[in-house]
């Protein structure tokens, strides 16, 4: 893996990332990223890139985006001191509460930003993919807000395990398209959304939900999600009296993690991304792309992917639909290669236990995706006693009830200790 970056290159690439020089003009984060798309979509990607350049940092667009974040999404989201969890872990634990954002997860930051962009680009309709359904719900809500029709592609397997979100999307006016091809999860949903986009590249806006895919999506999504890290830094300084010693975020495609980490790259904070370790370390048993994958091209980007020796992309397993993806955002691949961010894996059972612990100690039902971050944070706290931790609490767990009801609630005392 490290052979992709020469020994002397890592520091220069990290500096370039910190200074906002990445992606480069070709959409690369060092060796990663790029734009591997069918010829039919090339003009659409060029239009999108030009649109992002024109609008994203335009003061008028930013004013509108910031107003929507404040008045409709409910930002800034709270930073919560997790007192009982801190006591238990022997650490100072702070939670960035993206679960309190409108529609229940960080996904809304990106969805409303791209929906505003789609409106400016003058498209007729929006399509989106979804895994856990959070991006689907966010897209449905954002499209309703700006007045654009929306169709959400969702794998048949995910439709079953995230049923509450399917109904929410429909009520918010979106058409939910069941994807029966491929692995019937997030990867197949992206493939199908791309196939749909190819039929009308000029009329459709593809509202991609994570920091993955072809340029400019990894950049666009990072810019829209970086509000998480910017707010967190300010709040930590104000409420906790300083920046965290370590920050944790779960990583599927990696949008909430890049949003939290990107504004902290220049800080001394240790950054740790947590992938889905599933049921084991074998191919097909997990979705730990950075921890166990190899470089390749998937869905538009050169990045770390889970594949066999023949370059066939492998199916993944995770208890959480939102982490169940064979690829990862190319900027994470770079941050791993430079050593700036460490990526670890947490398994299904550990994630479930962490979810229970947060319910018990803080009265917060976190998403199954998010609970993976707590597993790694707890372990880090054990090895580094007395430190200040920040955990990106990326979403709430209401949508996971169909999965959670399969596991009995443990009897426990709520008396304070």
């Amino acid at each position: 893996m490290t052979s992709l970056i020469q020994a002397g290159e890592a520091e220069a690439l990290l500096q370039a990332a910190i200074n906002g020089k990445l992606p480069d003009a070709r959409g690369r984060f060092g060796p990663f990223g790029g734009r591997y798309v069918p010829e039919t979509l090339v003009p659409a990607f060029e239009r999108l890139e030009a649109g992002v350049k024109e609008h994203l940092h335009d003061p008028q667009f930013q004013a509108e985006f910031q107003r929507e974040l404040r008045e409709w999404v409910g930002r800034p989201t709270a930073l919560t001191y997790a007192g009982r969890l801190s006591e238990r872990w022997g650490a100072d634990v702070w939670l960035k509460r993206e679960d309190l954002a409108h529609t229940g997860a960080h996904k809304i930051n990106n969805a409303i930003g791209q929906a505003l962009l789609a409106k400016r680009l003058g498209v007729e309709r929006v399509i989106a993919e979804t895994g856990a359904g959070q991006h689907g719900v966010a897209s449905a809500a954002a499209c309703a807000r700006v007045g654009l029709p929306c169709a959400v592609y969702m794998g048949a397997v995910d439709i079953e395990r995230q049923a509450p979100n399917v109904d929410r999307m429909r009520r918010l006016g979106a058409e939910v398209v069941a994807v029966e091809s491929g692995d019937k999860t997030l990867r197949a949903a992206i493939d199908e959304a791309l196939r749909k986009w190819v039929t009308d590249p000029a009329g459709i806006y593809y509202l991609l939900g994570s920091a993955v895919g072809a340029h400019p999506y990894p950049y666009l999504v990072r810019e829209l999600q970086s509000v998480i890290g910017r707010e967190s830094r300010e709040q930590m300084i104000e409420q906790a009296g300083g920046l965290p010693d370590a920050a944790f975020a779960c990583v599927g495609g990696g949008s909430n993690a890049i949003g939290l980490f990107y504004p902290m790259l220049a800080d001394d904070t240790e950054l740790i991304g947590v992938e889905a370790g599933g049921t084991g370390s074998g191919l097909g048993q997990n979705a730990a792309t950075l921890a166990t994958g190899t470089p390749g091209v998937l869905q538009g980007s050169y990045t770390m992917i889970l594949q066999d020796d023949d370059g066939q992309v492998q199916e993944t397993h995770s208890i959480s639909a939102g982490l169940d993806y064979s690829g990862v955002g190319p900027e994470h691949a770079l941050l791993q290669a430079t050593g700036r961010v460490k990526y670890v894996a947490a398994g299904d059972e550990e994630a479930l236990a962490a979810l229970e612990e947060l319910c018990e100690t803080e009265g917060i039902l976190t998403a199954l995706e998010t609970s993976h971050a707590f597993v790694a944070a707890r372990e880090w706290a054990r090895e580094n006693p007395g430190k200040r931790l920040l955990i990106g609490n990326s979403g709430r767990g209401d949508k996971d009830m169909p999965t959670l009801t399969k596991f009995p609630v443990k009897v426990r005392s709520h008396a304070s200790t």
Partner: protein, 254 residues
């Protein structure tokens, strides 16, 4: 003659004989791996150039038919290395072969090894549907060093300036996608097809072959009036899926 020139020559020979070049596509090892070579021989006996489809787990530019055939071939253990070995054992076909593959299996195989094996097994060129021109320098260099062609795709959405660049870079033939869509569509060919193919043919110095949505003799004739060749993919794969004779079907397209 370099390998990619054999492809160009085969299409031109068909045109000189008064025919539209016929370029059938088969998913390698579908429906049964042990029938791969015999199917390919039958198809190459009728086709002027044959496209060998390399199955991939994420065929994002393909419709249901080729998704299904790719998935089944992969289930039955078909891989690029196996395909090259089988082609080598067969020892040659009546028509030049080109491979159609998404990028990742080629990347995993290694570009230099790919070029070597292609040359050894009679593969003359490659079509890579998820590799736009801007990302193609590395593989193009590896292929051209061995005289192999990287066939560029153009589409009705391709702007004029870009069209010229792509036609200029293409080797063997230019693959003109007839529709904005994926393979295997049954919506018919677009009304403005003639103008589009005429434009591509005027820009390109090598033969233009049209593909996507070509299912029957009348489609081949429509395309043939404005392009040098017609590519038939999903319709042929469906014939194989039904266990029917590909020779009869391909002859019926003439």
């Amino acid at each position: 003659m370099q390998a990619h020139e054999r492809v160009t020559a085969a299409i031109r020979a068909a045109n000189e004989a008064g025919r539209t070049g016929l370029v059938p596509f088969v998913t390698a090892g579908y429906p049964e791996p042990q029938e791969f070579i015999s199917t390919l021989q039958a198809v190459a006996a009728v086709g002027d150039v044959v496209e060998v489809g390399i199955p991939f787990s994420d065929p994002m530019a393909d419709g249901m038919t080729i998704q299904r055939s790719s998935f089944e071939a992969l289930q039955k253990g078909v891989s690029l290395a196996w395909i090259f070995d089988e082609l080598e054992k067969a020892g040659g076909f009546d028509a030049p072969l080109v491979m159609m593959s998404y990028l990742n299996p080629l990347l995993a195989f290694g570009y230099d090894r790919l070029a070597d094996r292609a040359l050894e097994t009679g593969v003359c060129g490659f079509i890579v549907p998820d590799l736009p021109f801007e990302e193609s320098d590395e593989i193009r260099a590896a292929l051209e060093a061995k005289g192999l062609g990287l066939i560029q795709l153009v589409t009705p959405a391709t702007p004029d300036e870009r069209l010229a660049t792509l036609c200029d870079a293409s080797r063997g033939f230019v693959y003109a996608v007839t529709i904005t869509g994926i393979t295997g569509g049954d919506a018919g060919l677009p009304a403005d097809l003639a103008g589009y193919l005429d434009k591509v043919s005027a820009v390109s110095g090598i033969p233009v072959c049209a593909g996507f949505g070509i299912r029957e003799a009348s489609d081949v004739a429509d395309v043939g009036a404005h392009a040098a060749g017609a590519i038939v993919g999903s319709a042929l794969v469906e014939v194989l899926e039904r266990g029917e004779d590909p020779t009869g079907f391909l002859n019926s397209l003439r």
